[in-house]
Amino acid sequence: MGMTSPSGRAMRQVSNGVLIVIGVCFALPLAWLLLASFDPTANLTLKWPGTPTLDNFTAVLTPDLAFLPLFNSLLLSAGCAIITVAVAVLAAYPLSRYKMRINKPYLYGILFGTCLPITAMMVPVYSLFVALNLIDSMWGTVLFMAAASLPMAIWMMKNFMDSVPIVLEEAAWADGASMMATLTRVVVPLMRPGIAVVFIFVFVQAWGNFFVPFVLLLSPEKQPAAVSIFAFFGQYGAVAYGKLAAFSLVYSVPVLALYVFTSRVLGGGSALAGAIKG
């Protein structure tokens, strides 16, 4: 935009100033997290660490405290993302390629499902898990998380699949390939970036999910980092803020890295926005 007039320049200065103030407000809570993690005597106050050390990290990075919960997080998130993507690719194919009477009600049902507050479902889901004897089961939790992320995943996957040209498939059909062969050999390779976006989207959501494993998993050795970090906060939170901050950072790094990867490599920012816009 051409902003050469004097009023334009003044406007730019004001915009910069206001943005910097807002930026500082947004940075302060994050700054505490960062500074406290390097401060062996951290408390809740924002202060520069007297002698910055990695003590908090070395204290937290033990098998019991961090590695097992992080491994559990990986198990839950990867399991959930793999199942979700596989099921969503299957479901998206007929929705994208065939005109069937079921498409419209099914897609509206999916959209409706993306809007339902999952938090509200945790009480009835707990009852269901008691009835099915799935409480404290990793598989049960993975399947529920996959089901909960399916509506959004199917919707995104169908939109990605719609943009894959149908011409190549028609050639495969002409050669007598079955539906499954066409899907796995022609369509899936062509929409790898889209599949990666959906996978990362589901993985990140599952990685950050606290409430679902908090309700459905009971044994400490099965709990993911989100839940164990909360237990840590409850038990030692009052004294060990530095370790809490260090653990929080370690736990956040994969999510931040995946976001940067998605937006830089896959152009996922706009892809995600496109999916969300509906």
Binding site: L28, R101, A120, L150, F211, K277
Partner: protein
């Protein structure tokens, strides 16, 4: 749920034109819809099942422990009557509305739109840094964001430290004004979404329209009200609905920061449902609250789908 989707579908019928398969194609259609089956099973068992059970369970006296845990019996509308007679529940509804209006409808939307517009006029470095900070708060796992917000608003936290620098003795925010603290925390955490949606929308407003309005002497405020806002109204309504739905189900942030307290002073509906069901073992009662939340979410979803008619063909 099927009846609800049916309503939505009939509402928009006639746009795509009917493509009903002929009877002899029935077998082929069946074959073609087989890939839908796994998704249908997962959704039916783990989403539809609990929703239906939730409606049913809210009419029983089931509990986590005690005699009622064995054979729950049908109690009709008793849970709902108890609910509406309970001041905690009515307060919780009010708190949820305050939370939705304060943090989603006003906070995230206005700040998100403001940030998007300011960024149009700012220089690239400021835009990049501020954008990254806002998005980072949104990308962080919810529990980490909750710890950071907790440390910020705590009695000994960053906010009071800064206020002390200018000679103000700050309040104990998490106890004195818990709702304000969680609303601000949710604005901090969630604004990035609105900012991204509005940034995308504003770049699609044709520059020549804005420029010609500027030539005609329209001030910045007038350009906003008469040009920009009408042109991005679809994004505004989409964003309002989505942020409202996301905020309706916020649990972790409030749970970590205040635990719904002090007392029940920040117990929104998700927190209250959790407390009733798991802390006080009143599963039927908690289910009734969950059911009301689901109904509110469903109403919002239907309004959203009807108003925006997303293209499903």
């Amino acid at each position: 749920m099927s009846s609800l989707t049916e309503t939505v579908a009939t509402g928009s019928r006639g746009r795509g034109g009917p493509r009903a398969p002929r009877p002899r194609r029935a077998g082929r259609t069946l074959g073609r819809s087989i890939p839908l089956v796994p998704s249908m099973i997962l959704i039916a068992v783990f989403l539809l099942g609990p929703v239906v059970a939730s409606f049913y369970g809210s009419f029983t006296n089931s509990a986590l422990t005690g005699s009622a845990a064995e054979g729950a019996s049908f109690v009709g509308l008793q849970n709902y009557l108890d609910l509406f007679a309970n001041p905690d529940f009515l307060q919780s509804v009010l708190l949820t509305v305050i939370f939705l209006v304060g943090s989603a409808i006003i906070g995230q939307n206005v700040l998100g739109l403001g940030l998007a517009m300011l960024m149009q006029n700012a220089n690239a470095v400021v835009r990049g840094i501020v954008g990254t900070l806002v998005v980072t708060a949104w990308i962080l796992p919810e529990i980490v964001a909750a710890f950071a917000a907790y440390a910020f608003f705590h009695d000994d936290g960053t906010l009071n430290e800064l206020l002390a620098l200018v000679g103000i003795h700050g309040a104990n925010w998490l106890y004195a004004v818990p709702m304000l603290a969680v609303i601000l925390a949710n604005v901090w955490r969630g604004t990035a979404f609105s900012m991204l949606v509005y940034s995308a929308a504003i770049t699609e407003v044709p520059a020549d329209v804005v420029e010609s309005a500027e030539m005609d002497g329209a001030s910045g405020g007038k350009r906003l009200i008469y040009i920009t806002l009408p042109m991005i109204r679809r994004s505004i309504s989409t964003n309002l609905m989505l942020t409202t739905l996301q905020t309706l189900s916020v649990f972790t942030l409030i749970f970590v920061m205040t635990g719904g307290g002090p007392g029940t002073k920040s117990s929104t509906l998700p927190i209250l449902a959790y407390q009733e069901a798991f802390k006080f073992s009143q599963l039927g009662y908690g289910t009734a609250i969950a059911t009301i939340l689901l109904v509110i979410g469903a109403i919002f979803s239907i309004v959203y789908l009807r108003a925006l008619k997303p293209e499903v063909d």
